[in-house]
Amino acid sequence: MQRFDNIIIGGGHNGLICATYLANAGQTVLLVEGGELGGLASTREFHPGFKVSVAHSLSHFSEDVSKQLSLAQHGFKPSDVSLTTVGLSLDGKHVVVTDNGVEGVGESDQDSYTEYLKMLNRFAKVLKPFWLKTMPRIGDNSLPNMMTFGQLGLKLRLLGKKDMGEFMRVATLPARDLMDENFDNELLKAVLSWDGLIGSKMAPRSPNATVLNMLYRMSGGKDGAHTLPQGGISNLIDALHKSALASGVEIKTGVAVSKIVIEKDSHGQRASGIVLQDGTVIKSSRVVSSVDPKQTFLELVGARNLEIGFTNRINRLRSDGYVAKLHLALDGLPSFTGLDTCDGRMIIAPTMDSIEFAFDDAKYGDFSQSPVMEIILPSIHDSAMAPSGQHVLSAHVMYVPHALKGGWTEQAKDTLYQRLIDLLSKYAPGIEQQIIHGELLTPDDLEKSYRLNGGHWHHTELSMDQMLMMRPTYEAAQYSTPIPGLFLCGAGSHPGGGLMGGPGHNAAKEILRSVK
């Protein structure tokens, strides 16, 4: 039976990226995916003729990765045009954020926005080199480790005294404080804080890493602006797929992995392959998991093969998702009050308080009385997503708890679904009559459909205690794990989640370093 140098578990973008880098370095690689390639970014037909992907835009996909894997040659067509971000207002007086600035706000906010963006850009540049780098191991004083620290120190110092101080102050500031310091318009504040919050269990008043999350998203080519590649998100996944195949990666889809084989003898233990759901064993020198850390360690490896303290740290990772996904098949373009076109990214979050209150409900296990959401109509950008003349609406709904009080019954889902339709109807009157089919995916559904513990976008919360050299936890934060031969390459590793590619890229580098 064939033995591989590497088996990658999970065919999301990070798994594909890691696999391709390894194959490009001459390694044999088998990638096994239980569902469809692309994970949360895979495109599926949710109603005959209507397609959608859970992830619905790109904001910081790594240009380095794109270049190094020659994604353009494999058909990747990133867009130069940013999606305008529209803060929807019931009275049609929307706030619109484009590459050129903000519309719909007073002059002072417009000026502040220019300064604010410049500041964030300076800060984002400090951090940019570190997203595609292995973080130093705590307690390891080796030269490369010290260089990484030194480089960060130098970058900070080069900001100049005032900016350096500001960076240190702003990085862990609650989004609310940052917005209140800079802007007057409530809707603008809500819209600008959105990118620091989406996908996390944090709200504007949460101190932690919301600003860092914004800076992380600004590491992409367009300073965090959202785009859609030509052909939609599937264009990126297709290109990654083709690039992997061209590099010689062997790919199996629709086959779930049930266990990582841990070989044991008097020399200790080592990951030496995988067991598929049907019992087939495939051997390899290394197993690389792009699956979330909880599943990787607690289910695939098993606590009994791990250290006690480590296992309990993994178990305590906060990985409950708080974003639900709403998909609507529409028989025509919806009409949003006061909006000529709905080709942007529309956000329903009238004030930061409205976000905070939605979060408060979720904290205690309820979904909100008035949820907040981000809407895109992917079919406007890619006609293949819906039959001609018809459209798909895709919305991220915050904050919807993974563990709903009383559980996710059909009735609970229906209640939330209807609440969302009622909310949408206020901004786009008549939309309810346009619906051919609708589906709501709660974090619980995402967990089940995408083999994702907690249904968390980023596998585990992107917060200070679970970031950088603490992601997912120390002793597993440099892609290697306490089990020799087992590596991590998913969103649960530095730099984290979102369609970015950093974990896959960094993990491949670490693996290749360990092989040398």
């Binding site: 044991k264 003898d265 008097s266 020399h267 200790g268 233990q269 607690l298 098993g302 606590a303 009994r304 093969n305 791990l306 250290e307 006690i308 303290g309 480590f310 296992t311 309990n312 178990n315 002793e475 306490p482």
Partner: protein, 405 residues
């Protein structure tokens, strides 16, 4: 008629718990020398610590181990869970046998030591000095087919130690007790009962012949009375913490808070110990593919311990308590420190356990001893010699059957 006044104790929750043997022990605690252990009222000594020490060494004596922490781990996963938690191979432990174990953090630092009793194929009793339920629960995460029960308060136990113990148990009616081998377990009827409510293990913390008697709390006083009736002509006497600390030192056994600092309670970096520093190498079984701390322990073993716990025979008769150790008589090069020390009456030697820098084990060792004579303080420098064997290890401790008296 006057109603009796209701007395409410405002400190009820703070009072020390009373052992199931307390009633009898209190009557014999002539000096009211109480301290506490794990929330129990506990005797330092009852009459005189040296007298009690000599009872352990020359006749027989009882030591209340009710305050010791006791956990029943049972279920199909119990063996696997304990085997992963401790450094020794639990799968080799046969039913009705006891083994001495220790367990470590992920970093290979000693959390505690204790004993595991295999009561049945999938039923174990773990005993240890400090509360360990939190660590047991953490260790059990990922094992679904097991339960952990804290039986510290629901399982009474009395350690019965000394050369005449077997004889006394025979007198008490424990048929066949003389055939019980060290680290074995047997069950007996109690004062003619039909069932066998008394569990006896040939274990102890004295390095001598001795047994531990395990019983339901409601039968504790019945056991006590039967034992003390049988032992009357054999000099039976309760002993406390002070005498225990003497006999365990002679046997070379380590104590938390003396030889080692429990890792989960240690604040300063590496002020806790690895098993290798405590000369417990024989407890760490690297033939096992995995157990907690294995990787760190293997590294520690290969690097060698910075300090090594040794047994010292020290010239003179002044106990080297809290002494610093030097490589030279001028006390210029410090190489370690004494953890426990005493004049041993049975060995007739000035003995100590000490942590010595591993590089200095082959050279001279000198102790700087401070002592006081009728309020005048003095110091002396005494030569120390490392002893490999326990100071006290009589043949009778292992003989089966033990000699009759």
């Amino acid at each position: 008629m006057n109603k009796p006044m209701q007395v409410v104790d405002p400190y009820a929750g703070e009072r020390l718990k009373l052992s199931p043997f307390h009633e009898r022990q209190a009557a014999l605690n002539l000096r009211d020398a109480w301290s506490s252990w794990n929330g129990y009222k506990f005797a330092d000594y009852y009459y005189d610590e040296e007298y009690e020490y000599f009872c352990v060494r020359n006749s027989c004596a009882t030591y209340d181990i009710c305050p010791m922490q006791k956990y029943i781990v049972s279920g199909p996963d119990a063996e696997a869970m304990l085997d992963r938690m401790v450094t020794r191979d639990v799968t080799k432990l046969k039913q009705d046998r006891v083994t001495y174990v220790c367990w470590c953090t992920d970093e290979g630092r000693l959390i505690d030591d204790g004993t595991i009793f295999r009561l049945a194929e999938d039923r174990f009793l773990l005993t240890c000095g400090s509360p360990s339920l939190a660590w047991l629960r953490k260790s059990a995460f990922g094992y679904n087919a097991l339960t952990i029960e804290d039986v510290s308060d629901t399982f009474a136990a009395l350690s019965f130690q000394g050369p005449t113990t077997c004889e006394v148990l025979k007198k008490m009616g424990l048929e066949g007790i003389e055939n019980l081998k060290p680290f074995s377990i047997a069950h007996f009827p109690l004062v003619g009962s039909d069932d066998s409510p008394l569990m006896v293990s040939r274990t102890g913390f004295t390095g001598d012949l001795g047994y531990e008697l395990w019983i339901a709390p409601e039968l504790a006083l019945t056991l006590w009375d039967a034992l003390y009736a049988a032992g009357e002509d054999y000099g039976i006497q309760p002993y406390g913490e002070a005498a225990t600390n003497m006999v365990r030192l002679e046997a070379g056994f380590i104590m938390p808070g003396m030889e080692f600092n429990e890792a989960l309670k240690t604040i300063h970096f590496e002020y806790d110990q690895t098993p290798f520093e405590l000369s417990l190498d024989w407890l760490v079984d690297f033939k096992k593919p995995h157990f907690n701390g294995r990787v760190a322990l293997l590294k520690a073993k290969n690097e060698g311990p910075e300090y090594t716990l040794v047994k010292l025979d020290i010239e003179g008769n002044k106990p080297a308590e809290e002494s610093l150790l030097y490589a030279d008589k001028n006390c210029e090069k410090e190489i370690g420190y004494v953890t426990s020390a005493m004049w041993s009456p049975v060995v007739k030697a000035n003995i100590a356990l000490a942590m010595v820098n591993s590089n200095a084990l082959k050279g001279d060792i000198w102790a700087e001893i401070y002592y006081s004579k009728e309020l005048r303080h003095h110091s002396k420098i005494a030569r120390c010699v490392i002893k490999e064997a326990p100071f006290w290890s009589p043949v009778r401790a292992r003989a089966t059957p033990p000699a009759a008296f």
